[in-house]
């Protein structure tokens, strides 16, 4: 297509945006709300996935030693565990050290337990291979005087449930919103088509190609989607920036981390932009097919 023609199509499509005033506003708003929710949803789901991965790949187990176990027995247990197949290292931590850690991470609220420490002495056991963690944990928990063994896979079961429910609810919500946005866009485009029906009739009479007739409407739909993606991109980026700034120091000692602001937020922005364009172009195609007959 010639540059001059493309310029003409761009001008026509932009003129229609202004002429359709309120419908343009309504469509762009619908796209904005939709994409905002899509963006937040993606932020949450991708991070939950990341956390699940991190936890799953964690090779560290926390082995709780039964109360009233003497130092001799503890030394014996440490030996016994460290020779198990698949075990890389065993570190002992007293309940006093555990409490100090807890206070360090979660604040002074816990210091009242200093009088009467409810925690266990623990071993931190690392397996050589994350795949082996569950098996090793099973072996260790068979030993007498071991209260229980915690490791990532146990914790993430709950997380996966949250993840699945969240995904389903989110997808249904987003699909409904996508359809609403597309419907509004296709309505806006229909108004443009009706407003320009004489022009279209003459174009067709004098031999304009079908694509020549269609393109301004496709572009108008594209603008609606593009305009609707600006606010979501800005808000989602600002939101995630603040979340990462808030969460980073607090998660320093955790086995899982959030996705880094960059490049993740650029990927999410690109996704929002592409979805906006897709919604817009698809919405206008629905009207073109129905009302333009070219």
């Amino acid at each position: 297509m010639k540059a001059r023609t493309l310029g003409r199509h761009f001008r026509e499509s932009l003129k229609s945006l202004g002429r359709n005033g309120w419908m343009t506003f309504a469509s762009v708003s619908a796209v904005t709300v939709t994409l905002l929710l899509v963006g937040v949803f993606v932020l949450i789901m991708m991070n939950l996935n990341k956390i699940a991965d991190d936890v799953e790949n964690d090779v560290e187990m926390k082995v709780f030693i039964a109360l009233e176990t003497g130092q001799e027995d503890i030394d014996r247990l440490e030996n016994e565990i460290s020779v198990l197949p698949g075990v890389e290292s065993v570190d002992f931590s007293t309940k006093e050290e555990e409490l100090t850690d807890l206070i360090l991470n979660f604040g002074d609220d816990f210091s009242l337990y200093e009088q009467n420490n409810p925690l266990f002495d623990v071993f931190y056991v690392k397996s050589i291979d994350p795949q082996q963690t569950e098996k090793v944990a099973g072996e260790i928990s068979k030993i007498d005087q071991i209260e229980k063994v915690e490791f990532g896979a146990g914790k993430i079961e709950k997380l996966f449930n949250v993840l699945n429910t969240g995904r389903n609810v989110g997808l249904v919500l987003i699909l409904a919103l996508l359809f609403t946005a597309m419907f509004l866009i296709s309505n806006t485009i229909r108004i443009t088509i009706v407003a320009r029906r004489h022009e279209i009739e003459i174009m067709k009479l004098v031999g304009a190609t079908n694509w020549f007739v269609r393109i301004p409407f496709i572009l108008e739909g594209m603008w609606l989607g593009l305009l609707g993606s600006i606010i979501p991109i800005g808000l989602v980026a600002a939101l995630y920036y603040n979340v990462t700034v808030y969460a980073e120091p607090r998660l320093k000692n955790e086995i899982f981390q959030l996705l880094e602001f960059s490049p993740f937020i650029y990927q999410v922005s690109a996704l929002i932009l592409l979805m906006g364009i897709f919604i817009g172009v698809w919405g206008s195609f629905m009207s073109i097919r129905k009302f333009l007959r070219v």
Binding site: R4, T5, R8, I202, M203, V206, G207, N210
Partner: protein, 228 residues
């Protein structure tokens, strides 16, 4: 130029508008299509630029097979044909010059070429001095001149007109007819549906009379043949 063989047209509502038409029109001819209302004149005309598709039969316009022509190729057919209507079909927001240029812009003609050709046809129809005026500022006859200018600006081999003088007073109708004669003299085929008896009877050309979707009369230099 135009060949029809057993062309039959049945609309989706079951009405048979053309009931087996056979006709041949040569390059450079001037043809009137006459007949009572509902006879099928407009349908006959619409076949030419593939506004309607034949239900059966064979039909060629400038060598293009109308019956099998793909939708995507219709624009190419239309670039060979100029079309003029009773209601002019001008765009009210464009001035005279822009209305004519529009026909070339949407088929992506070069700007210099557009300018040259538009000025030339506006001169031909005698409206060069009103190029900047808008359709609402023109008389009916002048508006029809603009639409004729638009129909010939792409140098079509054939101009098709459906009752082009239907909305005009007798005086103006004669002016418009003289313009069509002039266009025909330069070699362009003219096919015109009309109800105007005086004109058909005095500007003599071939007359095709249609009744009930059939050609009932086809006479070179014939008369209108119906009363008032």
């Amino acid at each position: 130029m135009i060949q029809m063989k057993n062309v039959y047209k049945k609309y989706s509502n079951g009405i048979v508008a053309l009931n087996g038409m056979n006709v041949e029109i040569d390059q450079g001819e001037f043809v009137y299509v006459v007949g009572p209302s509902g006879a099928g004149k407009s349908t006959f005309i619409k076949m030419m630029y593939r506004e309607e598709r034949p239900t059966s039969g064979q039909m060629f316009v400038d060598g293009i097979d109308i019956a099998t022509l793909k939708n995507s190729k219709v624009p190419l057919l239309r670039r060979q044909i100029g079309v003029v209507f009773q209601d002019f079909k001008l765009l009210p927001k464009l001035n005279v010059y822009e209305n004519v240029a529009f026909a070339l812009e949407v088929i992506e003609e070069k700007p210099e070429e557009i300018r040259k050709r538009v000025l030339k046809v506006l001169d031909l129809v005698g409206l060069k001095h009103k190029a900047r005026m808008f359709p609402t500022e023109l008389s009916g006859g002048e508006q029809q001149r603009v639409s004729i200018a638009r129909s010939i600006v792409n140098k079509p081999k054939v101009v098709i007109a459906d009752e082009p003088t239907g909305n005009l007073d007798p005086e103006t109708s004669w002016d418009i007819m003289r313009l069509f004669e002039q266009i025909n003299k330069s070699g362009t085929t003219i096919l015109m549906a009309t109800h105007n008896r005086e004109i058909v009877n005095s500007m003599r050309h071939r007359v095709i009379a249609i009744e009930g979707g059939l050609i009932v009369r086809d006479v070179a230099g014939g008369d209108y043949g119906y009363e008032g």
